[in-house]
């Protein structure tokens, strides 16, 4: 497989557009990979962060009454088994949570804001959220327990679906790339059929002839993938700038973590190997039709 005899013309044997087609395919596959892997990591982070916590809102509009209810709720929470910690969010923290939605400086002292209690759950048996809500209602009637799990479960299902769609897109892009490479290889074979026939008649093995094609196509695949990856990197850069302008709060984190970005570096290798092996397979199949 490694021995190579040069008998093909030095100019391209695959058409000028093939590297660009592969670049587009790698760009699309990379984008789909980014979305799928990014969502997977986000879902994991959310799940780890929220499954071990819940939030209690005290929505009494009267500040004095609200403070009394918060104190009573905290006392109830502290004596509830399965709760590791409970603390009221400061007003600055609550304002910071609202500002992305209402705009900076728009959350004034006259705006009735509920008090929020952040509750950390201890490891062990899960807390009975319904019973906790009933207990809190006795000491703080305006308290509402938000266990996150309901909306988190729906969100996780949605994310999994998007992940699957991303995976299907990567698969389809891969199949389309294989089909395009097969067409390009056949076109190259047709153009250089006379050359291939002569070398074949001189006793070159099929693997030797296929080898001459496969190394050319390997380089085409790598070159196309690098172009596609560069375009994707540029796109990521643009998203990064936009993300910074949005102060990274209104939308979820648009940029995936570095380890996901690093995984994209596998694309040129995969594209090169896919291109090389597809070309080899196509040439071997075509040669099998010769005597």
């Amino acid at each position: 497989m490694l021995r190579q005899i040069r008998f093909l013309p030095s100019e391209n044997i695959h058409g000028r557009l093939l590297p660009w087609v592969i670049a587009v395919m790698v760009f699309l596959a990379g984008l789909a990979m980014l979305i799928a892997l990014g969502l997977q990591m986000t879902a994991r982070t959310w799940h780890q962060g929220l499954a071990q916590s819940l939030t209690v809102q005290v929505i009494n509009a009267d500040k004095a009454a609200r403070d009394r209810e918060v104190a009573a709720a905290l006392a109830e929470l502290h004596k509830t088994p399965g709760i590791a910690a409970a603390a009221e969010e400061t007003s600055d923290q609550v304002v910071a949570l609202l500002e992305p939605w209402l705009g900076k400086g728009n959350v004034g002292p006259d705006l009735p804001i509920p008090a929020l209690i952040d509750v950390k759950l201890a490891d062990g048996p899960p807390v009975d959220v319904t019973a906790l809500g009933a207990a809190l209602a006795k000491v703080a009637p305006s308290a509402r327990v938000d266990a996150h799990e309901r909306w988190l479960a729906d969100l996780l299902v949605l994310m999994r679906i998007v992940q699957w769609i991303g995976g299907v897109i990567v698969g389809l892009v891969g199949l389309a790339t294989v089909a395009i490479i097969i067409f390009a290889t056949r076109a190259g074979l047709a153009t250089h059929r006379e050359t291939v026939e002569i070398v074949h008649m001189m006793g070159a093995k099929d693997s030797t002839i296929a080898g001459a094609f496969q190394w050319r196509f390997l380089w085409v695949g790598v070159k196309g993938a690098i172009i596609g990856l560069a375009a994707l990197a540029a796109g990521i850069g643009v998203v990064h700038v936009i993300n910074q302008r949005l102060e990274g709060a209104l939308l979820p984190q648009l940029l995936p973590p570095p380890e996901v970005l690093a995984s994209l570096l596998v694309l040129p290798v995969v594209a090169g190997l896919l291109t090389m092996l597809t070309a080899r397979f196509a040439v071997m199949r075509a040669l099998a039709d010769m005597n």
Partner: protein
């Protein structure tokens, strides 16, 4: 060495271009293949250089049954068959040197072996100054000499030539014929298809004559030429190239 038994051949669903062809060429024999245009000479050569398979009958080349042979067995046989095509079939994007070197490279020769043998043979066929030239810049005669050098560079067991002297002057024709004869003396079974009756009459060797796809004159067996003028000798190193493509 080469045996045909009741061989018929047709292209697609057309009429047979070869019919009931039977003959046996012994190892080291030398034959001319004659016949009018369309008589089936090229088709017979194609069967012998394994470009086509027969529609019927049996063919044995170097002890291998071609009809039943597995595909992967054929490259080894082909490396032992040198072919000079009527239209040369040189690779236009390769220099004369690289065209001649191709069979050696396919056979696994080292770079040094390729350099030594190719340069020596190209000098011998009078193309010392055209080694780096592309076929498109060569004359018909020069192309023919490159094609012949390519066919004989690894001293094949069987040499098949289709009108090999059609585009060269008498002196070069005699020189090339001498090359074929020397190869034949070294054991190469040689078949030369030609219209050139001057060439056919120049040496007494058996003829395979085709008329409308049928063989009408059978070879008598080994009858190597041995009374020829000692014109030009082959390069000293040339016999050493033997066996490069044997595996």
């Amino acid at each position: 060495m080469i045996r045909f038994d009741n061989v018929g051949m047709r292209y697609g669903s057309g009429d047979e271009v070869l019919r009931d062809v039977s003959f046996e060429l012994l190892r080291g024999s030398f034959h001319f293949l004659t016949g009018r245009s369309g008589a089936g000479k090229s088709s017979l050569l194609k069967l012998m250089y394994l470009s086509e398979r027969p529609s019927r009958g049996l063919i044995s080349m170097m002890g291998v049954d071609i009809v039943t042979a597995k595909r992967k067995a054929l490259p080894r046989l082909r490396r032992n068959i040198g072919v000079v095509f009527q239209d040369y079939r040189l690779l236009d994007h390769l220099s004369a040197y690289d065209n001649v070197a191709l069979p050696l490279r396919i056979g696994g020769a080292t770079r040094a072996e390729v350099r030594d043998y190719v340069e020596e043979l190209l000098v011998w066929v009078g193309l010392k100054d055209r080694m780096k030239s592309l076929p498109s810049t060569l004359s018909g005669g020069e192309k023919q000499r490159v094609a012949i050098a390519r066919a004989v560079i690894n001293r094949p067991t069987v040499l098949l030539a289709d009108e090999p002297t059609g585009n060269v002057d008498d002196e070069m024709a005699a020189r090339l014929l001498r090359l074929f004869i020397e190869l034949n003396r070294l054991g190469t079974t040689t078949v030369i298809a030609t219209h050139d009756m001057g060439l056919v009459d120049s040496i007494e060797v058996p003829r395979l004559h085709l008329e409308a796809g049928k063989l009408v004159q059978l070879p008598p067996g080994i009858d190597p030429p041995n009374d020829l003028p000692n014109a030009l000798r082959l390069p000293e190193a040339f016999p050493q190239a033997v066996g490069l493509a044997r595996d």
